[in-house]
Structure formats: C-alpha cells, structure tokens
C-alpha cells in the first residue's frame, strides 16, 4: 500500500508542477490588470503618436470575449514588461475549422477582397483591420448598443477615419433620421457601401458603382414596407427607370445621371431644404453638371413624372389624349378591316356557288 501512496503523491506533485509551470508561462488577466487598469497608462509610438493602453476591464468582462484571457490574443505578451507587442491577428482563432468554436464566416474572405483589405495587404498602416472597426477589447454583438458595429454607431466608427464624409452625413436626411430620430431603417454607411465587401466606387462590383447606385437606393426606396411606414415617395425609383437617364444606365451608358448625380451621395436633403442639391434654386447648378448652360428653365416642371397619375399635371392629360386617340383610331380601323374581309368572303363564296 505504501507504494500506492508514493505513486499518488508523485502524481499530485507532477500535476502541481505542470499547473504551476503553465501559470508561470502565461500571465493571468489579473496580472495584466495591475498595470492596464490605470487610465493614465500611455504609450508613445515611433511616429510620435501617443495612444492609451488603458483597458476598462468592467466593460471587457461584458464583451463577447469575456472568457478569453488577454494572452490568447496578445500571444507575445509573455514577459513583464510587455513591450513592442504585435497587432493582434484575429484569424488566429477565426479560421475555418478552428477548435475554439470561434465563428468563421465568408466575411474574412470578403474583407480580403475589399478596398480596406487590399490596402492592408499592400502594407498601408492606416488601412483598417478587424479591430479598427469592431473594437479591440470591447467587442459586442452588433445588436448590442455598446457595439461599435451597432447600426447607430457605424457612422462614428467609419467617421474615425472618414471624418469629412461623416461631417456631411450626420446632418443629411439619412444621418438625422438615424442619429436624432433613431430610425433604424435609415441607412448608415454600411447599408449603401457594404460592410466587409466595401469596394472603391470605380469598381463595377461596388454597391455604389454608377450603374449600381439606383439598385442600392432602391433597396429602401422601392421597399413597400418602408415606404408605407415612413411615407417615402415611391415614384422616384419607378419613374427613374422609365426616364432616359434610367434607360441609358440600364443599357450600359457611363455618362448618365444616377440617383446621386442629382441628390448627392452624402449631402442628401429634402427638396424643400435650401441646402439640398435639388432645392429649386440649386437645380440649374445641379443639372448644369451634365447639361452645360442649364438655366432656371430646368426647374420649371417636375423631375420624377409618372404620366399615368394626375399629379403629373399637363403630361397626364397629354398621355390620356394619346391613349384615347390610339384606342379609338385602332378600334375604328380594325372594325373597318373586319367588315371589309367579311364582305370579301361573302363575295368569294357567292362566286364559287
């Protein structure tokens, strides 16, 4: 029995050693917290920028990675003091078939093909990686209001780099609706530009490529549910498709107006807002971008016209006139032809008899 006890004790020590050895190798979150819970902890980068190294552990422990240890991501933070750490590579866990159960989605591939991913691959240090949009320590599900990728926060997230555009967007009709009125159906950056698959606007695959703009806008502006709920005018998309602009763009013309040519891409305002590109006084300038010398005559009349509706004014009556003229003339001619043919048949039969 003595031998048995010795073996059990030996095993116990062995386990203790193993556990101790492991904890010695990888510092615990608690150890990181010693320094990184100090709000004044800062680091000076080689290019002179100063960044905070403070981590709010209270928020971190609510985030989606709350169960992960710091060193799972910061793999090179093994020794104290941890200096010159590499940027965290999310794909260490988020790859296809990983054992940790981290989600792996097509989005990683999409990112690689996107304008941001390609810039990163080319070594552009300013180009965003996963953590630049999703956050580094405070990652939440996008439905969570704390998330940087929550719909209401996306404009700010993108705006950290695209500051000028954010500045225009936030006062536009879409920005106002999303930020002030908290209408989640209003588009954030990602609704028009895409999320992981953002392409340059000159790329034909882009959602904001000139031939794709009307499709992208139509996602909401031809969506019957949204139209009813928020009283969005429905005609623009349909009438644009019927207009020369719409037909030309459909068959591949490259120098023709799409939605944003007239309504602007970010500075979109209601037509009665003087800041709007389609405010009556601004129309000559807006049309003049393509039609040199456009005068105030361009503003005399509606733009999105549906001839079948009375709101179209005189065009409605012109359309009705031609409709009834065509119907009556064709009816008369067809009746005449039928009478003529019938008589010919009768004469022929008589002749045969």
């Amino acid at each position: 029995m003595k031998i048995n006890r010795i073996i059990i004790l030996f095993c116990f020590f062995l386990i203790c050693l193993l556990v101790q050895g492991r904890t010695q190798e990888l510092p615990s979150n608690q150890e990181c917290k010693h320094c990184h819970s100090n709000p004044n902890l800062k680091k000076v980068l080689p290019d002179g920028r100063v960044i905070s190294e403070y981590v709010d552990f209270d928020i971190f422990y609510k985030s989606i990675h709350k169960k992960q240890a710091c060193v799972y991501c910061h793999i090179d933070a093994t020794n104290f003091p941890c200096k010159n750490l590499q940027k965290v590579n999310c794909q260490r866990c988020h790859y296809k078939g990983n054992l940790a159960g981290a989600p792996d989605l097509i989005k990683y591939k999409e990112y690689g093909e996107s304008v941001h991913g390609r810039a990163t691959a080319l070594g552009d240090v300013k180009a965003p990686m996963c953590q630049d949009c999703h956050g580094s320590h405070y990652i939440f599900d996008k439905a969570d209001t704390l998330s940087r990728t929550n719909k209401e926060h996306i404009p700010q997230t993108c705006g950290t780099c695209h500051l000028n555009i954010y500045d225009i967007y936030r006062i536009s009709v879409h920005g106002e609706a999303l930020r002030s009125k908290h209408i989640l159906a209003a588009p954030s950056c990602a609704d028009c530009h895409g999320e992981h698959n953002i392409k340059e606007h000159t790329d034909p695959k882009s959602k904001v490529f000139l031939t794709q703009v009307s499709v992208t806008c139509a996602k909401c502006h031809a969506n019957m549910e949204l139209i009813k709920k928020y009283d969005i005018p429905v005609e623009p998309v349909e009438t644009y498709k019927e207009s020369f602009h719409g037909v030309a763009i459909k068959f591949g013309a490259k120098t023709v107006a799409n939605c944003t040519s007239c309504h602007e891409s970010h500075a979109i305002f209601k037509s009665d807002d003087p800041r709007s590109s389609i405010y009556i006084d601004n129309i000559p300038r807006t049309c003049g971008k393509c039609h040199p010398g456009a005068s105030e005559n361009f503003a005399k009349g509606k733009i999105h016209i549906n001839p079948a509706k009375k709101e179209a004014g005189i065009i409605y009556y012109v359309s009705q006139f031609f409709k009834y003229l065509t119907l009556s003339v064709m009816l008369a001619l067809i009746i005449y032809i039928i009478l003529d043919l019938r008589k010919k048949l009768i004469v022929k039969r008589k002749g045969e008899e």
Binding site: G301, T326, L333
Partner: protein
C-alpha cells in the same frame, strides 16, 4: 384550193410565205406601174398589204382546218397571242423614291425607338447588344430622323414647286365625296348596297394614310427635335415642355407603329387582293383591273382622254394624209 392536201400537211409555212409573196408581188407590180413612190410611202403600203394578205390567208387556213377536221386529222390550233394586261402609270419615279426614303427612315426609327419605350422586355436588351450598344442605336435613330425630316421638307417643296406635286396635292385634298364614299362602302360591306363606291384618283383610304402621316410628322418631328436639342430647347422653353415632348413622342410613336402594322399592312400587303404586296410602290403602275375597281372615275377619265387623243391624232393624220395626197398628185 391551190394546193394538194399532202403538200399542205408537210410544209404549210413555206407554202404560206410563197402565196404571200406572190400576192404581194402582184399588187406591188400593179401599184408601181404608174406611180413613183417615196421610200416612206412604199413601206407603209407594204405594211398594209401584208396585213390584208395575212387576213386573207388566215381565212383560207380556217377553211382548211375545217376540212382537215372532217377527215379527223389533228392539227393544233394556232396559238393566239395573250393580250398583255394594260397597265396605267400611277406613281412617278420621284414619288416612289420619296416613299422608299420615308419607309427606310421610319423602319430605322421604329426599330431603334421601340426598345427604349419597352426597355423592360428581353428583346430590348437583345437589340442593344446586337447593334453594339445604346450609343450606336441613338446615332442610328438620329440618322433615321434626319432622313424623315429631310424627306418631309423635300415633299413640301415638291408639292409647292413641281407641276406633278401640285396636281397630286389637289387630288389628295379631303372632300365631301370621301365621306359619302365611306358611307357607301360601309353600306356595301354590311350588304345594304350592291355597288361599291366609285373612286377618283385617290380613295379615302389613301387620303387617310396620307394625312395621318402629316399629323404624325408634326408631332414626331417637333417633339423629336426638342429631345434631340434638349439644351437649346430648354434655353427657350421650361422643362415641362420637354416632358410633354417626351410623352408625345413616345405615345405618337406607338400610334404610328400600330397604324402602320394594322392599317397600312392590311391595305398594302395582307389584303387578300394585294397579298403579298401592292407592287405599285416599285413599278409605279397599276393594272386595268385594279384601276376599274378602285379608281373607276380616274379610269373613265383616262379612257376619255385617250379617246380624245386618238381622235385628235386621227384628225391630224387625216390632215397629214390629205396633204400627202395633194403632194403625190
């Protein structure tokens, strides 16, 4: 009879020529005995003699056939030359060329214009990819438009400054008779009248076609020019004028296309009497049969004119002959 039966059966032609020659010579000798003839008169006399000789011989032959028939020898009857159908001139070359230019321009305009109106249909996409894109189609449409406007202006000049044009225009003016004719024809179709209406040079159908083109031209050319030169147009007119132009251009195009397909195709192509087509637009001529049926009054008028002409000619010839006779004597 001059010949034995056998001989006749073997070589009737040779014998006929011989006989003719003999008779000719006989008469010729008689005539030339005391007259010195000019070559022209000689020819004329020859001709007359030949004709008479032929008549006599034909009579002769008939008798012989009758004899041969009794003897039950089959000889095919002589082929009677088919009388060629009399054709009346209807459309001058000028008018025919105008029609062809109008036709080609209109076809170009319709096939390049309809895909814009019906852009949602699959064949619109097919058409644009076939011709090489919307830009090519737009240029083609303007080529067609230039043809149409050009021929319209030419036609107006033709009406104003050519004798033919003025005459045609007078005939084409709508009259009360056209309404009466229409009434008669409608009654004829439903069996309340037995006779068709008697038409002049142009029936009300043709007049309707002609004047419908005027209406179409005015609408299409005016609205088309506004859309073609939009920048210039909008310097003068407010935008809603251009919108009206677009609507009118699109709608009138439909009306015109339908009119061509239903009405013009029926009258000129699919009508059982004309199928596969009325060839006048190529030949410029119309057959006597059609003339009698569709332009009776014109036909009568032409015949009267012809008769008059023949009479005057005869009178002239008579005079001429009298003069000749005096000369000869």
């Amino acid at each position: 009879m001059f010949f034995s039966k056998k001989k006749k059966e073997l070589e009737p032609k040779v014998s006929l020529d011989k006989l003719q020659g003999e008779i000719e010579q006989e008469i010729w000798d008689d005539l030339t005995k005391d007259l010195s003839l000019t070559p022209h008169l000689k020819e004329e006399i020859k001709k007359l003699v030949k004709e008479r000789a032929r008549e006599e011989l034909q009579k002769e032959l008939k008798d012989r056939y009758a004899e041969l028939k009794e003897e039950k020898v089959e000889i095919p009857p002589p082929e009677v030359k088919k009388k060629e159908e009399v054709m009346y001139p209807r459309l001058s070359l000028d008018v025919r060329i105008q029609h062809i230019i109008l036709m080609v321009s209109t076809i170009i305009l319709i096939i390049t214009g309809l895909p814009i109106k019906f852009h949602e249909l699959a064949w619109a996409k097919f058409f644009f990819s076939t011709v090489g894109g919307l830009q090519v189609s737009r240029i083609l449409h303007r080529v067609g438009a230039a043809g149409l406007i050009g021929i319209a202006l030419y036609h107006l000049l033709f009406l104003a400054f050519s004798k033919e044009g003025r005459e045609i225009f007078k005939e084409l003016l709508p009259r009360k008779k056209d309404l009466k004719d229409l009434w008669i024809m409608l009654n004829y179709f439903i069996g309340r009248k037995r006779e068709r209406a008697k038409f002049g040079k142009f029936t009300y159908v043709e007049k309707f076609d002609y004047w419908a083109v005027y209406w179409g031209m005015v609408v299409m050319v005016l609205s088309g020019l506004i859309l073609w030169f939009l920048g210039t147009a909008l310097r003068i007119f407010p935008k809603f004028v251009a919108d009206i132009a677009k609507e009118a251009h699109s709608d009138e195009a439909t009306l015109a296309t339908l009119a061509i397909i239903i009405w013009h195709f029926y009258n000129a192509h699919l009508n059982p009497e004309k199928f596969p087509m009325n060839r006048s637009w190529l030949t410029g001529k119309i057959s006597e049969k059609e003339m009698e049926k569709e332009h009776f009054l014109e036909w009568v008028k032409i015949q009267e004119e012809e008769e008059k002409e023949i009479e005057t000619k005869k009178a002239e010839e008579g005079k001429f002959k009298e003069q000749r006779g005096e000369n000869i004597l």
